[in-house]
Amino acid sequence: MRYNERELLFLARQPAEKAAEILMRLPKKGSVLKKRLVKLVVNFLFYFRTDEAEPIGALLLEHCRIIKEEENVFSISFVEEPERKYCFECDSEEQCQEWIEALKRASYEFMRRCLIFYRNEIQKMTGKDPLEQYGISEEARFQLGTHKQ
């Protein structure tokens, strides 16, 4: 699949929501845990070799599951292939929980659900659509329920 690599590399250099050196294992057979610089920027998780400026790879965090595995360990898997897990071993249980929380909130789809929830709540409380004043109430992405293509 073609993608705009230059822009993605640029994104990887932006200030991160969260970044740390964590042991990471790819879902490939025979993969071992390796120390990586892991960086969360918008809905991408970039991972770098610790001394390199360019990421080895990036995971788009949509339709994924963040699961606590054993102590200090969490995994990321994607709904269409739940057995293929990217594993991360943190330094502490606290760090592990922080990452799980941050990654669960990191998707565009999650934010969309938040927005729809808040919009609905405000509308219930005030009778007014809070997006109207910004002129965006008709935008497809802010609609409650499914929106047409």
């Binding site: 699949m1 929501e17 995971l59 929380e101 405000i122 965006i136 497809a140």
Partner: protein, 259 residues
């Protein structure tokens, strides 16, 4: 750089709602011929397929940090997705009608994660203000609900947090994101600013100095949303201040003259 392509393809083709979809002509990178492709916009990802029925996208354009502009082109209804940076590519697209072009320009220019985050934060703030009063926000401060006693005035407020969602405005990069409280730097005895009970419990500290967001918005992750120079933020600030002022007036009137 490796991408989780299989998951990307799944995201593109699964039945989660698309923010826009339709045929567009895409100008080639090297050759200037236009190719008709089926485009699907989901979140901040613009996928394109050879055919509408194709199982997998041919490619994807990550839309963080882009601007969308109308185009001077021989092609009718043309517009461009532009990225900053000297060697960045510009994607020239053309719609099949004026209406389609306008619809795409609108949806693409609001497709970034940062934009969505801005809107979410704005609504979150409004909801907090409605439930707790303007100065109670202290969005990033997880311990605040414990240390702040709800005022006995006004509508009954239950101390429950917004249900089913994680803590409001989580910390970013280790810095708590404080709500922008107008009047937070007033002397402590004028505790008329809402959010403080009659015993005058300490107010949230003034806003820490903010880092400037990079001008191409790809970088705004981790910086307080209000840093963005968008009109949206200016509006948000203005409305927030109006609400705070109104509430202050109301509180003053209720208390009567101060000793």
């Amino acid at each position: 750089m490796k991408l989780n392509e299989r998951s990307l393809a799944f995201y593109a083709t699964c039945d989660s709602p698309a923010d826009n979809a339709g045929f567009l002509y895409k100008r080639g990178e090297r050759h200037t011929a236009y190719h008709r492709r089926w485009f699907v916009l989901k979140g901040n990802m613009l996928f394109y397929f050879e055919e509408r029925e194709s199982r997998e996208p041919v490619g994807v354009i990550v839309l963080e940090g882009c601007t969308v502009e109308l185009c001077d082109s021989a092609e009718e209804f043309a517009f461009a997705i532009c990225f900053s940076g000297t060697k960045s590519r510009t994607y020239v697209l053309a719609a099949e009608s004026q209406a389609a072009m306008e619809s795409w320009v609108k949806s693409l220019s609001r497709a970034s994660f940062d934009y969505m985050r801005l809107v979410v934060r704005e609504l979150e703030k409004q909801l907090e203000e409605m439930r707790w009063g303007p100065a109670s926000g202290c969005g990033g401060c997880r311990q605040l609900p414990g240390s702040w006693k709800p005022k006995p005035l006004g509508p009954e407020r239950s101390p429950e947090r917004l249900p089913a969602l994680p803590a409001i405005l989580p910390k970013e990069n280790g810095c708590a994101v404080w709500n922008n409280v107008p009047g937070a730097d007033r002397p402590p005895d004028t505790s008329i600013c809402s959010g403080y009970d009659s015993e005058g419990n300490p107010r949230p500290p003034p806003l820490p100095p903010r880092r400037r967001a990079s001008s191409s918005e790809a970088g705004s992750a981790g910086v307080a949303a209000a840093e963005s120079p968008s009109t949206f933020c200016r509006l948000h600030e203005r409305y927030g201040q109006e609400v705070a002022r109104l509430r202050q007036d109301w509180l003053e009137r209720r208390r009567g003259p101060r000793p």
